[in-house]
Symmetry: D2
Amino acid sequence: MTTHVERVRQSFFKQPFMSTLGAELTAVGEGMVEIRLPFSPSLTQQDGYLHAGAVTAVLDSACGYAALSVAPADHEVLTVEFKVNLLAPAAGKVFIAKAQVKRAGKKLTVCTADAFAITGDTQKVVATMLTTIMAVPITPAK
Amino acid sequence: MTTHVERVRQSFFKQPFMSTLGAELTAVGEGMVEIRLPFSPSLTQQDGYLHAGAVTAVLDSACGYAALSVAPADHEVLTVEFKVNLLAPAAGKVFIAKAQVKRAGKKLTVCTADAFAITGDTQKVVATMLTTIMAVPITPAK
Amino acid sequence: MTTHVERVRQSFFKQPFMSTLGAELTAVGEGMVEIRLPFSPSLTQQDGYLHAGAVTAVLDSACGYAALSVAPADHEVLTVEFKVNLLAPAAGKVFIAKAQVKRAGKKLTVCTADAFAITGDTQKVVATMLTTIMAVPITPAK
Amino acid sequence: MTTHVERVRQSFFKQPFMSTLGAELTAVGEGMVEIRLPFSPSLTQQDGYLHAGAVTAVLDSACGYAALSVAPADHEVLTVEFKVNLLAPAAGKVFIAKAQVKRAGKKLTVCTADAFAITGDTQKVVATMLTTIMAVPITPAK
């Protein structure tokens, strides 16, 4: 069944910020999502590394969509809160955020995600997220 | 003495991501920083609100610069980790991130920040951050 | 009106762990709670300071009760998650956790709390918490 | 080589709070630690479940010791901060906290841990921690 995959894809394309960053949805499964973000000088902080806000944006979207992939069909999801540890400078040509559902509840879903910097064949974890996401009924007017 | 203010301003202008977002540094004091982010459709998520990643970016930069403003002159700062609670949909024409140092240590500084959505005369808190920042000696080669 | 104060006091006395720690409820207001914890060698870690788990326990109870003090009468509260920064060694004769509601929502309430070590006239912040608490309807059977 | 195991065991026995809780060190490896906590009514909150502070105490000690197991021999470790998500009511006869190092750095080590409730043959995750731990040189006087 591909319904949850379709929901995630449709919502992703309605997130202008993902497009502003240049992020792409590269994988969607039941309870897992991957987002790819190519390096761009426009996304950097003062030392030339990817800004933590850009890293967080793709981690947050990946987690939100992982949660959406297991949510009831008539619900959407909202991020309640997240924690991010920056494990290494975000240096690389491409970054991949890999999110998975840790526990899906009726109202709240907890997800984890890692962000990896990829340069050639090497893949290095640069950040990790632990987040709480709330499922809310879709209101007709929206 | 304006040295710490100057350091913060100089570093801010070297953060391309702040410029990509359209963020401006609006206040710097000893242990406090404010960053202003006008709303833009390019920064939104699927419901038209500011993306949590954009909110986090200005909260993180504000906290980092608040920490830098109290760091020794030969040190720079790196974000170790942060937690963000999203308190309300980030709806507004302008957003302001206000950061302050909670405790400054030799190596680690803890900061808090709130993000406010401003529409006309009303100001509403939409997110809050609690973060750990590390001061590291500036290496000559950089 | 003292109803919310009464609810908090009644629930506090039903928390055996608070009694095991030796903690006392010292203040309850609308959206604020204080808990006092005298130092005891039985609560320490390897260096003789209060264990982070003991500090967290009183911060968590203080935040939970601050949230309960503003919850509807037919609801109880559950901690969803918290983050704690340990700001200084928890050295002192008495500790006080002071919690306040940051934002009260229909389902989720966000609270902050500081833990202070008190020795004579000096009061020093040793830890801070940012937490998400969920209000849930009390089920009749409970 | 069992040196790091020995260091962890020796430090654990110097943590009176672990003994107060009734916690036992059940496994130590390089970068991993398990702590077992039998249920006791003295550790509960108002609904009869294990108090979040007790759960956090064993998660924190497990993470600290996982970090210590990979720290240089002349260093000790201090918890900088942690985040805990409470995933399910802590109901069970025995709880086990399993911690592992996520990334070990020169100064800072990031660990994750899960707490499981065990009843008969079933094991259920009830909480998860993401934490930052600092290695500091042991001062001779201590």
